[in-house]
Symmetry: C2
Subunit: 493 residues, 2 copies
């Protein structure tokens, strides 16, 4: 079951029950969110990983649609045995609002006018995208995400999650991204927007019942595509090879006649993009990227103050669009607050796109980071327990009521004095014991909250027990970890 695909998947839809209040002050009504999930949410709902997509991405991050020739856009890291292991984790990915892949965006019907929004769609920001995602996550009853991960604009959402909802994020993996858009990034976005707006078919965004601004959108994509590749990778891929020619054309054709392979490739990329993306969405999403700035008037160190999240920050050495220096700025801001952060630079000639390509390095880095899980990260902090000197009947009733087979026995000082199991209860019936003290196990196997989860797993296996009390340095019981917790995390390995 190593490195397999999750197979056929389907997109689901969630409608927000309330209006979404946007950062601009406007309200988005009847918001729909397209999303996909893979793997199984565990009983404690502690194994959910949210994947955030980039500018032109969508909810279809992994697996296959029936009949498709290509899997989801990040299939290389999602599936059984991959770093986002669907045997351990419950993966969620949703299309951003403002997008055009199933979530409400400028191409959606405005219920007030019964026509597509076009430019009547309100401006949305990274914070708004994350707020919509949070409502989706909450609708699943998930209180904390095991991880939030994303590259490029997806990484911006990861960072925004950490700032907007720090208590809901256990660990964060921003990749090939930045905490603020630089003037060069804004400049490239603006020329892309200008290409769209200059297309006479754009018609102030009201083109849905007429010709689409395909030429402008294709040009915007061509410009952007150059920034996703490195100089070196373009050389490796195209060199100066001519396209279906022995020699230079020495003439200007009006349509899409080109001399070089690289030109032909860009045209292909531009044209195929128009078949899968909405020009207005491009305007709105690129604007959200421009507006993104977690430092604002202050500094990243101030913004990240007080976060208790574990970070893995990844950059790509040949990425000149979101260069390593911007990832390092994130790390510096985290370090200033003594936040647990690991930084890695992927070695690749692919440029920005490496985050979608370099399967080996990504799987290695992310799996290592996620596996670095402590008992406290997955234990249940609320658990059934029973007081010392309670009756056996009382213990039996509690087990029945709480639907558990193991009950820690706690002193008045909250210390662990023993554990009583359903098997102990049945033993008491057979042997006529009446005191809890007579049947409970006093030499209890425990783990510390700081132990690696692997140690808990090994202890449970060795002693054939399905539940371990988690005891802190004061010998107080602060939680319980079960084979259920472990199995959802470990079975892939």
């Amino acid at each position: 079951m190593k490195n397999e695909s999750i197979g056929i998947v389907k997109t689901k839809y969630h409608s927000l029950s309330d209006d979404l209040i946007l950062e601009s002050g406007e309200k988005l009504k009847n918001t729909q969110i397209a999303y996909e999930t893979y793997g199984k949410l565990n009983k404690e709902k502690s194994n959910a990983i949210l994947v955030c997509h980039a500018l032109s991405g969508d909810a279809h991050v992994a697996g296959w649609y029936e009949g498709d020739k290509k899997p989801g856009w990040w299939d290389i890291i999602i599936g059984p045995g991959k770093c986002l292991d669907t045997d351990k984790y419950f993966i969620i990915c949703s299309n951003v609002i403002g997008g055009c892949k199933g979530s409400t965006g400028p191409a959606s019907i405005n219920h007030d006018t019964k026509k597509p929004y076009g430019l009547d769609f309100p401006i949305i920001t990274m914070k708004d995208m994350v707020n919509a995602q949070k409502k989706l996550v909450n609708s699943m009853g998930i209180k904390q995400l095991f991880a939030v991960i994303g590259g490029s604009m997806g990484g911006m959402q990861v960072l925004q999650w950490c700032v907007s909802y720090p208590e809901m994020v256990r660990s964060a993996i921003p990749i090939a991204t930045t905490a603020y858009s630089s003037p060069q990034q804004i400049a490239f976005n603006e020329v892309g927007r200008r290409a769209i707006i200059s297309d006479s078919n754009w018609n102030n965004g009201a083109y849905y019942e007429s010709k689409f601004p395909d030429s402008g959108l294709a040009l915007a994509r061509m410009i952007a595509h150059i920034t996703y590749l490195s100089n070196e990778s373009m050389y490796q891929k195209f060199g100066r090879r001519l396209q279906d020619k022995e020699d230079y054309g020495f003439n200007f054709e009006t349509d899409f006649e080109v001399d070089f392979e690289v030109e032909s490739y860009l045209h292909y990329q531009g044209n195929s993009f128009t078949k899968r993306f909405d020009a207005n969405s491009y305007l709105y999403i690129s604007k959200a990227i421009d507006y993104f700035d977690l430092a604002g008037e202050g500094s990243l160190a101030e913004t990240f103050y007080g976060l208790k999240i574990k970070f893995l920050v990844i950059s790509v050495d040949s990425d000149w669009l979101y260069p390593p220096s911007q990832s390092k700025d994130i790390v510096i801001g985290l370090n200033a607050n003594d936040i647990d952060v690991r930084y890695c630079e992927i070695k690749s000639s692919y440029g920005h796109d490496a985050f979608l390509i370099e399967a080996g390095q990504l799987n290695y880095l992310i799996a290592g980071f996620l596996a670095d899980t402590l008992v406290k990260d997955v234990m249940s902090r609320e658990f059934a327990k029973i007081k010392e000197k309670s009756s056996i009947e009382n213990a039996a009733e509690t087990m029945l009521h709480e639907k558990v087979t193991h009950l820690p026995v706690i002193s008045n000082e909250k210390r662990l004095v023993g554990i009583v199991t359903a098997w102990d209860i049945s033993k008491s019936v057979a042997r006529n014991y009446t005191e809890l003290d007579e049947i409970m196990t006093k030499d209890v196997i425990v783990v510390s909250p700081e132990d690696p989860i692997e140690l808990a797993a090994r202890k449970m296996k060795k002693y054939s027990i399905s539940s371990l009390p988690v005891v802190d340095e004061n010998e107080e019981v602060i939680g319980i970890v079960t084979t259920d917790h472990i199995s959802t995390l470990m079975t892939g390995n």
Copy 2:
């Protein structure tokens, strides 16, 4: 007289007498070349420096047009006391063919149709541009250029000169350039062209009597402008500052409304470009850049084989459009042939544009390189001389005929045996000498061809003489160097 401007200048025009045969095989008729010259061409015509301009440049490289607010585009390095010192050198700069600043290009009138060429203009290449320049240079009677210098596309012309007319180039200074366009460079050019072609006003290039494709040309310039700046310099210049706003606009305006200063700046650059440049010229010149490839099917080392030219190759550390690696490729190709080459990397945060800005480093590097002049570089190889045992009358006649005041006296073995001057002749008349041997100076002051020109200057000054024979290791006279040579080279210092 240090670091001054050359003052008011005017553009001149040269019409080629013959058709220009282009690399494509087509002919360009009635070719006109706009050019400017500054400084004075010396008698030997050995002090001419040709400056080649970049994509959007023109012949107006230095000095001021009457009433203008800004000088020519490279005034920082041209003028009295600057590295291209107009007190020493004769500076020539011409607009490339295919351009729109006075030389024949797609906006020129096609004499066959009496209308602007538009797309009927033939495709031109770097080689064609250089061929046109050569005809201009030849028309001035210049046999060898003291130096050819240029940045960006100007640097490509410099390299093309070295390959096309090696015997006409004494030294070459290609700056922030490449010997071949890379796929990334082609890609950026292609998106620029696509922006123009996509403008509905472009009308297949036949827009001269109607609306111009300003929107497309402005967009092409905006895209290109991003590539001329470094990420760092954009940050220094704009940061994330908003344009005339306290907060994000949170709306899409249709025209040129923008949020950030960097957007406003790009729009300004794009719009003002449309007032000074022709869209079709942009297509043609950018295509010439794409086609440029001195390596071709072989290698740069093969291309540069046999060159006797001195090179100063300059790159800019923050230039990501024409990165130092491409300059180093030039150097490697030259080194493979043991060609005299000096390589320098300008330290600057300005990116590609640094070659137009970093006055201090450019002046220092170029002045040092040009001053490194040997006697053999400037001496006249053809000079009047007289055989040993000639008569005094014979010497007098030769002086009169050759218009010289100094005549080296040469043995049959071509060795220098003395020198006779006009003053010696007049002395012979006064004292009734009849033999050359009696009046000539036998203890002749000479220089070696490998001596620095400064040494020749010092000797002439010390002995108050205006001409020195140049004698090689076999004591043969191989040339003559005069104060005229020196003065045009040295007086600026």
